[in-house]
């Protein structure tokens, strides 16, 4: 039953009053009590009732208030672990409500604190973690910064090297140009040589032509001699044929004689003819023999003439040979000069090519150089950025540390609260 306190007071009063009243009624009822003491007893009684009630009531009330007060005191000390338990009374009143509310407050506070605690623990952890990561990151970014430094430095070195290379290339280009120049000179000189040699060749050619004319004259004569000799040879061959025929005729005559002999008397006339033929063949042979001898003599003489002609021809040939070889020499020179010219041209072409290549390389190198510089700049930027980041990271670290600190403080603060053996214990 819930009776508000006020009610309870009222009631009390009522009771008392009532009791008085009652008593007033009662006592007289009672008969024993004397009516001089009846009012006293009534009043005493009322007082007693009133006292009793008042004691009961105020006890309860006071105890509750006392619990409440204890509770609140506890709470002010941060002990959130207990709930207020009021005395269960028959009648509940606002103190109960107050207890309830106070319990509720404690509960909620407990919860909140518990949560805060948990959360702050977590935060602590996180911040520690964060701090750790931040440290890592700091370290890393230091590293990066370091690397970037290196790169930067490297880039600088590269730039230097590029410069160096570039310089070398430029030198090369320079020397190539020199070569080009000299090969051009070479080409020129070999052209001159060619020309000179050609002139020389022409001169010898003319000389040669003249010699050839002379030679052909001589050869013409020689050929006449040869053909004469050949005719003589031919005659010889024909004479051989004739001799052969004569021999064959002889053989035929012999066979004819044999046939004639076989024919017996009928062959006699034939035998005579055969003999004549044989004689004829013999005389032919003889004449052929004479002619052969004449031919031989003629042949010998013509051979001699032929020989001397051959000698002159040979001398002329020698002279021609010499000229030929001179001409040959000139030709060789011309060839070589042309060759050299050609080669010089080639060299020029090549060197021009080289030159071009070198220029291209230079350009490329310069590109690289630029790029390297850009790189360097870039890396510088990166380096700076990294530094910033590093600083930021340090701040972060610091902040997180602070956070951790705060979290710790919070935790500490919160830990003042006693949450009892609740499950709200920090995890």
């Amino acid at each position: 039953m819930r009776i508000e306190i006020s009610h309870k007071f009222v009631l009390g009063f009522v009771v008392v009053v009532g009791s008085i009243v009652f008593l007033d009624y009662l006592v007289p009822v009672l008969g024993f009590i004397p009516q001089s003491m009846q009012q006293f007893v009534s009043t005493l009684g009322a007082l007693l009732v009133g006292l009793v009630f008042g004691w009961i009531f105020s006890k309860a009330f006071t105890s509750n208030i006392g619990i409440l007060t204890t509770g609140a005191e506890r709470l002010s000390h941060g002990d959130l672990s207990r709930t207020l338990k009021l005395r269960k009374g028959l009648v509940s009143d606002e103190t109960e409500d107050l207890a309830d509310s106070l319990n509720l407050v404690v509960d909620n506070l407990r919860k909140v604190v518990g949560k805060i605690r948990t959360t702050s623990v977590r935060v602590n952890e996180s911040s520690q973690g964060l701090s750790a990561s931040a440290e890592e990151m700091t370290a890393t970014s230091h590293e990066v910064a370091g690397a970037i430094e290196q790169i930067s430095r490297g880039a600088e070195t590269q730039a230097e090297m590029v410069e160096k290379v570039s310089r070398v290339i430029r030198d090369l280009a320079g020397s190539i140009e020199q070569i080009t120049a000299s090969s051009q000179i070479l080409a020129l000189s070999s052209a001159e040589t060619t020309k000179t040699a050609k002139d020389g060749g022409q001169l010898t050619d003319t000389a040669l032509e003249k010699m050839k004319l002379v030679l052909s004259d001589v050869e013409g004569n020689s050929r006449q001699m040869v053909s004469f000799s050949e005719h003589v040879q031919k005659i010889g061959t024909i004479i051989d044929v004739i001799t052969g025929i004569a021999q064959k005729t002889n053989l035929l005559a012999l066979n004819a004689t044999i046939e004639a002999a076989r024919a017996g008397e009928y062959g006699q006339g034939f035998a005579v003819v055969a003999e004549e033929i044989s004689k004829l063949a013999d005389s032919t042979s003889a004449s052929a023999g004479e002619i052969t001898r004449l031919i031989d003599t003629t042949r010998d003489e013509s051979l001699r003439v032929h020989q001397s002609m051959l000698d002159s021809v040979r001398a002329i040939d020698a002279g021609r040979g010499a000229i030929d070889s001179t001409s040959g020499v000139f030709r060789a020179i011309i060839e070589k000069a042309e060759d050299a010219q050609g080669k010089a041209h080639k060299i020029t072409a090549l060197t021009e090519q080289q030159n071009k290549n070198a220029t291209e390389i230079v350009a490329a190198i310069e590109e690289i150089s630029r790029v390297a510089e850009d790189n360097a700049a870039g890396t510088e930027q990166v380096s700076a950025a990294t530094e910033e980041q590093s600083a930021a990271m340090e701040e972060l670290t610091y902040a997180s540390q602070k956070l951790a600190q705060l979290a710790d403080e919070l935790l500490t603060t919160v830990s003042r609260f006693n949450l009892g053996s609740d499950a709200e214990a920090p995890a």
Partner: protein, 139 residues
């Protein structure tokens, strides 16, 4: 008067009656004649006939006949052969009454008789004997 064809065999002079000879061939190609002894030089083509050639000097014990020359083709009625000799000479006319028939101890010489002619001695070749010698060689 008989006509003889003289030829030399070594240092000796022999001769044959013209009637024993069919013809003289020149430059005939010698073809291989197998199975025969060395006295057969080969065979020649005479007007489409196959005629074996015998080295006469070799047959009679002289030095072999020189290479490539004229062969004496004998009359087929006597011997179907051709003979190689050392040197052929020109036809001579001889009176055979002056022929002294030989009675030689050596039938190997194949001499049927000897004839004087212009201070020279000419042996008449005995073809039958030649045939016999060849036959003996072929056995």
């Amino acid at each position: 008067m008989t006509q003889l064809l003289p030829f030399t065999l070594g240092a000796e002079r022999y001769a044959l009656k013209l009637t024993s000879i069919q013809e003289v061939v020149d430059g005939a190609q010698l073809h291989y004649l197998p199975v025969t002894p060395a006295t057969f030089l080969g065979a020649i083509n005479v007007h489409g006939q196959v005629v074996p050639v015998v080295d006469l000097p070799l047959l009679l014990g002289f030095d072999p006949a020189p290479v490539c020359q004229r062969f004496l083709v004998l009359s087929p009625q006597i011997l179907s052969l051709a003979l190689a000799v050392h040197q052929l000479e020109s036809v001579i006319n001889v009176d055979l009454q002056h022929l002294a028939l030989m009675q030689s101890d050596e039938p190997q010489n194949c001499i049927a008789g000897v004839v004087h002619w212009h201070e020279k001695m000419i042996n008449l070749l005995d073809l039958e004997q030649v045939g016999h010698i060849i036959e003996t060689q072929l056995k």
